[in-house]
Symmetry: C2
Subunit: 476 residues, 2 copies
């Protein structure tokens, strides 16, 4: 156990040195964050797939409850319940555009995690850093409960609970709780709690700031303590479902699902849920009385409860959908919280976009019209005009605009087009458009071919809790 403690101390030192200009020491955040006993006993696992180049290297790390399917190195790090993946890494010869140039990858891209402590963090997709197209690195970084590092190379970053860094290279930054940043690149920045920004340099900026009193109800965080608030209450309520799923190691394919669909054996899906064709239900997705229309996906750590999803719906990492009815192609972004109830359901019309980190906590029945984009904090139908806009209207913005507390600057058309592109990319990558031909297979189809291999840590002795040093390659 001394080894794990030494590992945590080492990460705390490295990250704090990176964040010295913010005068931000992470020690209090990481010490006692997860009981050592818990870190020591969790088993980890990696996926073996014929679809991706294979090379894993794990050294001096705790890999509690993971899942990797692509090229990944982890050194001197603690991954608590991470996902990582690697199934969208670029391959040798692949192209990446940036600064008017097109770079061809010299090697297969790989993930490299070093000196980091990622409490429940996803590191899905690929590096969006054109300066390191072959290396998706996560160095000297601490990410707290239910934060998401998604397609973001980081060095010296602290993410508070429920914060998301999305397709953004970040160096020496601090993100407060429930902050959302999608900004291509940030350096030496401190992003306040509950600040939502989507930014494309020289094209547009979208900002929204949660009021402090609202935030306090959903997420309260004191360093060294487990976060509190409505988000955590909800998460605790459903986690039992996963504990059951993780008691056994799946040896065959995932649970029965229709053609083209994959339900991870590490998801929790009850018998009253239904799964359409070409549906992906990812690891740690929790579905209860959920109707998943064809081509939908339920991503990692999302909850979908008492809800109907028409089809081709995206429920992103950490998003919650409760007592809601979502039309075709509704997108619900990271860590969004759609909390309806039997008497106060939420209806979202087709093609609407729920911006990441949106809270719709219905005190009365709420209807979001089709083709709308919605953000921020909504409790009543009367909040809608201040917290949403028809996509068509947003598209027309050029210059500055303010809707409620949201400010937008720049080219609305570019903003809408980039969002639409991303939604199409996500559906395609997840296999929503699979027609039986191998050309358009996505995660929902390829996931069926993954074999899960487990890694238990040393059960006793000097290395207790650490995984062995593992180097795993293809046989040739």
């Amino acid at each position: 156990m001394r080894q794990i403690q030494a590992l945590i101390d080492g990460v705390a030192d490295m990250v704090s040195v990176n964040l010295r200009e913010h005068d931000f020491a992470v020690d209090e955040h990481v010490q006692n964050c997860v009981p050592l006993e818990k870190l020591a006993k969790f088993y980890a696992f990696y996926g073996l797939s014929p679809h991706y180049p294979l090379h894993f290297y794990f050294h001096q790390s705790v890999l509690a409850g993971s899942y990797f399917v692509g090229m990944c190195t982890v050194e001197r790090s603690i991954l608590y319940k991470s996902d990582i993946r690697g199934d969208e890494l670029r391959v040798k010869g692949g192209k990446m555009g940036a600064g008017g140039r097109v770079l061809a990858l010299q090697d297969d891209e790989k993930i490299h995690i070093k000196n980091s402590f990622l409490v429940k963090t996803l590191v899905h997709s690929n590096s969006h850093d054109p300066e390191n197209p072959e290396l998706f690195h996560i160095y000297n970084t601490v990410a707290m409960h239910f934060s998401n590092i998604h397609g973001s190379s980081v060095r010296g970053v602290f993410l508070g609970p429920f914060a998301t860094l999305d397709q953004t290279t970040a160096h020496d930054c601090v993100l407060g709780p429930y902050a959302y940043v999608n900004a291509k690149e940030i350096r030496h920045a401190s992003v306040p709690a509950g600040h939502i920004q989507v930014k494309s340099p020289e094209r547009y900026e979208f900002h929204y700031q949660y009021p402090a009193e609202v935030l306090a109800r959903y997420i309260q965080y004191v360093p060294g303590k487990v976060p509190r608030g409505i988000f955590m209450v909800l998460s605790d309520r459903f986690k039992q479902g996963f504990q059951e799923a993780f008691k056994f190691v799946p040896l065959g394919k995932g649970a029965g699902a229709p053609t083209g669909s994959f339900v991870s054996p590490y998801a929790a899906v009850d018998a009253e849920s239904s799964i359409g064709e070409n549906v992906l239900v990812a690891q740690r997705a929790y579905l209860s009385k959920a109707r998943m229309g064809g081509g939908s996906n339920a991503q990692e750590s999302c909850f979908i409860i008492d809800s109907e999803l028409e089809g081709r719906n995206i429920t992103a990492h950490g998003a919650n959908v409760i007592h809601a009815k979502l039309g075709q192609k509704v997108f619900v972004g990271f860590n969004s919280f759609l909390n309806g109830s039997n008497g106060n359901p939420i209806v979202v019309g087709k093609n609407s976009i729920v911006v990441p980190h949106t809270i719709i906590d219905a005190k009365e029945p709420i209807v979001i019209p089709p083709e709308h984009i919605v953000w921020g904090f909504i409790e009543r139908q009367s909040d809608i005009p201040r917290q949403s806009a028809p996509i068509e209207e947003l598209r027309k913005i050029s210059g500055e605009a303010r809707i409620g507390d949201m400010t937008f600057t720049g080219d609305g058309g570019a903003f809408v087009a980039e969002f639409a592109d991303r939604i199409e990319h996500i559906l395609e990558a997840n296999g929503a458009y699979f027609d039986g031909a191998s050309g358009n297979r996505g995660h929902a189809q390829k996931g069926q071919d993954i074999a899960y291999n487990i890694i238990q840590p040393f059960p006793k002795g000097a290395f207790r809790g650490l995984c062995p040093t593992l180097d795993i390659r293809a046989p040739q």
Copy 2:
């Protein structure tokens, strides 16, 4: 699947080249020996233990259903349901006596398996080859169903079904079905089916040859076909118990057992069995209505059914004990077959030794007196005088002796003393004498600290059925 086929072809070539002087081609033996489909889908596992130096390296191999806890390299080989272990390998600085000299090991001993096809073979304990004290090698070797390679370095060896090579270095040898060889070293030898030999050069020789008509009832073997006969019927009857055990990967410690005892989660033990203190029930041991007295062990692939074992009993690898009552410290050797029934039970008195590869198939109640050594084929009480001797009498032999069809030459005292030493060593190594102090912990106690990690083969694609190339070390 082409990869597995190529692997089998490669092994067949290497072994056949080794055995060319015997004009013995192994192709027919290994082709179709196990359906490729079966080899491709089995998961393997290795144990992680704080008690032994750790280094595994697996390359271009099928590791179906294994279990390793020590230093082991496997290359271009097929291990079907192997055990391997490595928990008795010598460590750096350890001593090995031979030819009047004492060698000090320069490195930790490791197992190295290369170009071999080991159908259900154990490679337990350590190299007994003083010429290679740090390397326990298994090269260019084929071992068929329920054969045992035990503490025997081999190069270019074929073992027929139910054959055992015990603590004997062998080069370029063929062992027929149910042959047993414990002879320190054999080279370029062909050992006939059902030939039992225990030999210590210049000290003694013990020989017994099963009559062909007896052998034919118990084990019939035609190359390229699954063996037949009573041994296989019995094995098939009980194997269902293991299939259940192997459906799940054990994540915690083994099943509940008293202080100092270990029941492998990969053993099958029914509720009507009872386990005493300091008992080891190894992987693939099958116990039904078995009373295991304190300090007993049930080793790999043994069956103990409707039987009472008084205490400190050894039931060696592949031994069967059915409707028997065994007194204190009775030793039942490899692949022995004690087949009593309700009406015709078998009683073996305390301190008696059942020589490896003994068949007692009771057609009437049978009693072996205490302090006896018994061998060969026994059906009735009247067979006993021709198939056994009081240990005290055997001890007195000097020169040549013949009892029934058994011939003994040399120093009976040395033979008895070596057997007694070995029994003590086995009891000690397995933890029979554990008294709560750490100094005398054996496998029954240390086994409790093993974490099992699984390796699934590639489920699809070019490498289907092969395990990834794995290099596994301690974190430092």
